[in-house]
Symmetry: D2
Subunit: 212 residues, 4 copies
């Protein structure tokens, strides 16, 4: 069994750090391109992080992943997050990501319309990403989570509560968090409906004007 010291963790994580830095610039570029073209961007903001060593170790235990299988079996060591205004923007972003030549998508999981038990919603994409090191190319696994501002509110707060509590929530609180998640998604759907109606009104307006 391998047991990495701090130095070796740093070396192991370097390509992931480089990948996260590059991907943040690239994904933020999508938002800039929409703004550049005076179009409404389906992206509100982009964040990224390399999983801290303590979280990697904790997940290795929880998921029975050995150190020598880390690169193949832990998909979210390099993690990106794209936050969208509306639910339909999530799928616009997924379409844009599928067209990119620099991401080799391995798996997609739609937790937007199939929420996790906890109530969690997001769209996950796991992909291979190639980076150039000074001795040659290397491919790593990474994950992008795409979600609305509302989903991000729920997921961030739930994570923060879990961090405070450690371990399972009491059943009562678990239930209340699920209910909050359902209400949150309901808000997302309401907002999308309002947007669609506004777009319909606007397009009718211009039709009427065109008729005159």
């Amino acid at each position: 069994m391998v047991v990495k010291n701090m130095e070796e963790w740093d070396a192991f994580l370097f390509p992931y750090q480089q990948a996260v830095s590059e991907l943040k610039i690239k994904l933020r570029g999508i938002k800039k391109e929409f703004e550049r073209n005076r179009q409404t961007a389906p992206i509100e903001f982009v964040t990224g992080r390399v999983k801290p060593v303590s979280s990697i170790k904790e997940k290795m235990v929880r998921r029975y992943i050995s150190e020598d299988r880390l690169a193949q079996d832990m998909e979210d060591i390099a993690g990106l997050r794209i936050i969208c205004p509306f639910v339909d923007d999530i799928y616009k972003v997924v379409d844009i990501l599928r067209k990119r030549g620099d991401l080799n998508i391995l798996e997609e999981r739609d937790y937007v319309h199939n929420a996790k038990n906890s109530g969690y919603r997001s769209y996950h994409i796991v992909f291979e990403y190639g980076i150039d090191l000074y001795n040659g190319e290397k491919s790593i696994l990474a994950e992008i989570q795409i979600r609305t501002l509302a989903m991000n509110f729920w997921a961030t707060v739930e994570h923060s509560l879990g961090y405070k509590h450690k371990g399972e929530f009491p059943d009562d609180l678990k239930k209340r968090l699920q209910i909050a998640a359902t209400k949150t998604f309901k808000l997302d759907e309401d907002m999308l409906k309002i947007k669609d109606e506004l777009e319909y009104i606007n397009s009718s307006d211009s039709n009427i004007k065109d008729d005159e």
Copy 2:
């Protein structure tokens, strides 16, 4: 009457741009300091922007502000935003800001517990901020908006809808947006209640442990 050309707008806005850059670094430093001390940060993220010239002009018309009164009468040309996980974090952040020596707070408006008509909630702080230019010091007005992730969801989406629509929303939609705002704030309160209960459970646990 003054009418600035593009060159003059650039010159006028330079101190605001510099202030926003400095304040982003400073406010993000608060978050870092909490993390550094392994404490839960009351700040999720910080953003900042200088108001685009087109928005300044539009607001000048709407609020009857003349160009030569801009520096005194338009308080949000330099705008910062602090996003918090929980409602009570907003007031922790306000307390921290009140202690700072580099912000001279002129006005506070609590739209958290006194929502605007539209449903909008946030805590606003208007302040003077001094920057050093190469010819000497200069003081400008700036505004920080402090809000939860949930309030930020509502405000961002509402702003995006308004941007699409231009002009007043139809009464029906206005009503539905207000209802969404109320539900959003209800979610914030639910989450805060869960946090408080968890903290109570944790503190009881440790009391019991201490008794053993």
Copy 3:
């Protein structure tokens, strides 16, 4: 003949801006990787810029390039610069760049050992770089200039003098700038010689220790 308005220039330059942002992160990653591995980095710092529209226009006139040939005929619209401590580091960097999968090198020009008439020294690499836009991939031309700190001193100062003067330097000054360039390169060679001697001394020291 095409004549771009400001809006069209912005659209034309967007991919170049994105490329420069990505390449700055990538090239700075090389320096970080060396430091990460506790090795002396052959890179001191990296800069990048998109050529300002006024400079593009001025070069179009000087080189007889028409607007519709810009993307193919002007190679330095996206420009990166790598600054090295020692002359031999330039060639180490060139070797690392040649191995990268994300740069398709089209041309190399060694102005390090074949200075330009003016006295200018640097190593230039022209390459194709692919970026992913939201509608698909696109390939652009870009240039990396690799030079020592000393060469960068001379080139920056000479450029700054030219900027002040506009047009050709008087013959006498041209001559003095050439002499300064030669002296600058002599300093680079002196420093490299000192480094080589120090490395020889250090390796002899360790040989002696090994013998004991």
Copy 4:
């Protein structure tokens, strides 16, 4: 005697890190302001760093500084560097820094015209800088080094050689580095003379034109 563990070093260094981040933004603002006003900036670039713990410890030994005297006696834990094109720009920058309200200058050392024994040249400013922490204000010591591109070439290369060698250079090499430093400064003086002549030519030209 205090002996800090890694955790305590992190806590001790936090205000220095924050100060360096703020000052980098502020000093780069000076360059931006000149460019904004279409004037030649006396600043080429700005860098900053917090001294690594290993270097702090090494300097504590060399200078007989105890851990509890660090904040008062080690002035370059927070270090900024301003690189100028020409020698006279150094003094323009010094004048600008003297006018700032956010730096309380304690000491200035002109190693530009009084080189150190090694040959090193730069202008050093030691100052107090106030930062706002979440519990109140705090003042720290920091240092800005101002030098030309040529001086920066010599200092960087000399530092890199020292890093490779550890310990004193052999006398012969020490001598050769001093000679290189003298030649480097001579180049700086030559370049400044050329700039002055060009400015004289340009001003005469415009006089002649004015006479016509």
